[in-house]
Structure formats: structure tokens, C-alpha cells
Amino acid sequence: MPELTDLRDRTCIVGIGETAYTRGTPKSALELALAASLGAIEDAGIKPEAVDAVILPAGAGSGGTAGDFIANFGLPDLHYTTSLQEMGGAMCVSALESAAVALVSGIAHYALIPLCSRFYSGRKARQLNSDPGTGLQSAETIRDYYAPFGVAAPPQHYAWMAQRHMQLYGTTHEQLGAIAVAMRKHAQLHPNALMKRAPITLDDYLASRWVSYPYRLLDCCLETDGAAALLVTTTERAKDLRKPPVYVMGVTSGHPFPPHDLPNRPDLLKMGLDFCAPRAYAMAGVKPDDMDFAEIYDCFTGQMMLQLESAGFCQRGEGGPFVENGRIELGGALPVNTHGGLLSQGHNAGMNHLVEAVVQLRHEAGTRQVQDAELGAVTGWGGHGHGSMAILRR
């Protein structure tokens, strides 16, 4: 009988590619996605023709369709493609899961995961849910049951969760601010971070304008243009490639109930990650304490705090105190989002979190390197709280 642990260490990320993150671009989503993909393929040192799986996190919204990648790379025989669009921002880590399944099954040998975000030049992130047009039930819930009441975008309905957490556990604005400040500090050390020359203090945070209480402007991630890509293959094939492999020890996805609506969850704060994080640790055979760093999906400060709890780094309700006093900063007990995250590097739907984890585990992160990093966790969050988690090692 197949078991959960059968996927442990069977696949590796062997290539990463990333374009510049910008606010504004003359390039099309497909051009950016192709550039990042070529970067990942060259980083791995394979020929593009070897790619036989294209996992599209956001379907055609990833920058192109499978057909686009076949046509542009001249792929002779694509074996496998799939999309994780419904997962929202959890889709990139879930795409890694799909790649692992396809590779270990033998269906495919080299899987490309490309993603381009044009949240600045395209339809802005703040508009994503107000005119869904996606056919997704979660978007229709917003259109039909939230938007008539002026709740149409993530900073608004996600704020419900942060407010609930503050009410239940006494979480403070200063604690949310500690997350924003930490992300901005890390971005100062990344050459490809939108906010690399814009440090902030806690006072700056507290002075920033309200967007949707308890979220201020500096609780919100950055509308960004840019693309990134991963190349994934089996552990056997990874050994002969250009860069040291980064092993996928565990990778899982999970869903809240009901998935399509926030208010009607019996427990508003129980998310997909609460379900999939224990499975990820079980697959990997490690514990939260073993992690040298974590790249946590930070669409908003509160969502990062909630995920630190769901991923087992602290208990429910303790996320506020956990992020204080530099614990999540480089040099702290658990450096989080060493690239600056969605909040300060840029919003590429968490593909940048996976890229950064690989950079850290290759020990190529320069001044922001987590010393002797051996193990790292990456989470995804999307839709109304779908979740995903990867545990990676060098």
C-alpha cells in the first residue's frame, strides 16, 4: 500500500528562475513567464526539450497555457499538465505537490512550474474579487454575499480574521507591526526587492493610514509585476545536474470548511494549513522546531501570524507574542521571509517564497543567509484560506 511518506525525498527542486519584480512592465505575462522558466531550466542545466510536465499554478493565469509553453520552448512531448487555480495563493506550493506526484509516479521526468503575476500592470490585486469572472464559487460568494456590503477585496474580508484574533487573544497593533517591520528589514538585504530602499520603523507602521481596520496600508502586500519558475525532477536525476539539489521532504495541501465562505466556518481561524501542516511534518519526519527558517505566505500581516500558529510554530492565540522582539527576523529563533515576502519583496503569489527557500538551502543568500540552514518550511494561503506546505532540505 502506498503511504504518505513515500513522497519524502523522492523529488528535488533543481532549478530556479526569477525576473525583476517591478511596478509596471512593458512585457506580457507570457514573456515574463518564459524568461523566468528559461532561467530555471538553465539553472538546472538541462535542455528545454527535456521538460515533459508543466504545472500551471493559476491555469492560463500563470502567464500562459500548456500550449504556450509547448509552442515557445518547442517541447516535443509534454506528458502532463494541471492547474491549481482554485487554491489561490496556496497554488504554488500545491503545484510542487502535483509535480512530485507526477514525477514519482513515473508519468513525467522534468516538471516546470512557471508563474507570472501582473498585479500592478494587469488587474490589480485589490480588484481581484470584485469582478470575479473566474467561475469559482468563492468569488461568487464575494460577488453575491459580500460585495453588496462593501466587502470585495482581500484586505477587507481577511481583516475579519485579524479582528477576531485580536478579540479572542488580545493581539495588538504593535504585534502586527512587528511583522511589517521585519519583512521590510529583510527586503533591505535583497537586490530584487521592491522595498529595498524603503526601511520602516514601528512608528511608521502605526502612522500609516487605515485600509480596513485592523489593517493599515503597511499590513498589506505589494501589487507587483514579475515572474518566477521552478524546475523539479526525481532525486536520481537531480544528482547529475548543475546545482546541488534541494530535497522535497514533505509537501501537502489542505482546505477549510466550508471552503467558499469565511463567516460560516465553525471556527473562523481554522484554515487549510491547520489540516495539511501535520501531514507535511509526518511526510517529512520532522517537527516545527527543526526548521532553520520559514517562508510564510504574507498577503497581510495577520494572515502570516495565523499561519505561524497553524504551521505549529506556536500555539493558537500565541502568534502575536511570537512575532515580537525580533524572533522572526534574521538572527532570531525563526527567521521568516528572509527575502522580505509579499509585504516587502513583491507579490508573486508565493512563488518567490519557494525561490527564496531554495536560495537559502543552497547557501547562496549572501548577506541575508541563515547560517548553516539545512531545513526550511514554505506555506501557501489562498482563496478563503486554502493552505499548502512544503518542507525542504539541502
Binding site: 485589490r126 480588484q127 470584485s130 469582478d131 461568487e140 460568494t141 460577488r143 453575491d144 454575499y145 459580500y146 460585495a147 453588496p148 456590503f149 462593501g150 466587502v151 470585495a152 477585496a153 484586505p155 477587507q156 474580508h157 481583516a159 475579519w160 480574521m161 479582528q163 477576531r164 478579540q167 493610514r209 487605515w210 485600509v211 480596513s212 481596520y213 485592523p214 489593517y215 470548511f257 466550508p258 467558499h260 465562505d261 469565511l262 463567516p263 460560516n264 473562523l268
Partner: protein
């Protein structure tokens, strides 16, 4: 928060299927939700099957229209321009006494007067000939 004039809504709910039925009841000044006719479990937003017992038999069951404030956000930046004149406004999750929760407004009080567990009761605001929104106000003392 303005409570005395119709809200200038640009985007109305799309009245199709179950959503049309939900808002048709609101139009008749009744706040109803789906309830399973097999096991009695309430559900919202509407869908065909009971997630508890898998029955496809259900009804639009009436509620008393009374409930409590569960959580909220106060919107300062109107991402939808239709709400530009309303900011700051509180978008509140209310839990009905019967159990279902919904996104709504609590009118007649300032956002900073909200508290968790605050008793509220429904009223209906006509947005168009077809659509009335269920909104809430502080419950009268009984």
C-alpha cells in the same frame, strides 16, 4: 456611517439559482437560509447537498432575524467607488440565533460602538426593484 439614504451600489448580487431565491425572500422581508430536511443542519451560502448527512432535501427555513455581532472590519478605503461616500463603514459578520452567519452592516450606531456579542435584529434596505439587502440594527430591549 450613513444610514438614512440608499447606498449607491454599483454591483448587485447576480440573481440566479439559489442566490435569486435567497434575495427573493429578502425582498419579501424574510431572512431565510437553507436547512437540511433530513438532519436539520443550516447552511450558507446556498448549495445543493447537506455536508453533514448528504441529503439533497432542504428548505428555505425562516429565522427570527435576531442575532449577535461576531466580528467586523472598518473600511476606510473604499476599494469599490460605490462606497466612497460611506467610509468609514463597518462590514460586520452577524451570527443569527439559529446559527448561520452572514456579512452585513449594523446601522444606527458608530463603528466604534460595536462589540462582540452585541444583540442585533434584521431590517431590509431596498436597493432596486428586485434586491433588498438584509442589514441589522441594535436589537430593541425586550
Amino acid at each position: 456611517m450613513k444610514t438614512d439614504s440608499p447606498t449607491p451600489i454599483v454591483k448587485l448580487p447576480v440573481l440566479r439559482g439559489y442566490t435569486k431565491e435567497f434575495y427573493d425572500w429578502c425582498h419579501q422581508r424574510e431572512l431565510r437560509f437553507q436547512r437540511c430536511q433530513s438532519c436539520g443542519t443550516w447552511r450558507h451560502p446556498p448549495r445543493p447537498m447537506c455536508g453533514s448527512c448528504h441529503s439533497l432535501q432542504w428548505e428555505w427555513a425562516p429565522t427570527t432575524g435576531t442575532g449577535k455581532v461576531y466580528c467586523w472590519t472598518i473600511v476606510y478605503q473604499a476599494l469599490d467607488p460605490a462606497f466612497a461616500n460611506d467610509v468609514p463603514y463597518a462590514a460586520v459578520v452577524v451570527e443569527l440565533d439559529e446559527g448561520p452567519r452572514l456579512a452585513t452592516w449594523v446601522t444606527g450606531i458608530a463603528p466604534d460602538q460595536l462589540y462582540v456579542g452585541m444583540p442585533v435584529e434584521v431590517w431590509f434596505e431596498d436597493l432596486s426593484d428586485d434586491v433588498a439587502l438584509p442589514k441589522f440594527k441594535p436589537a430593541e430591549a425586550h
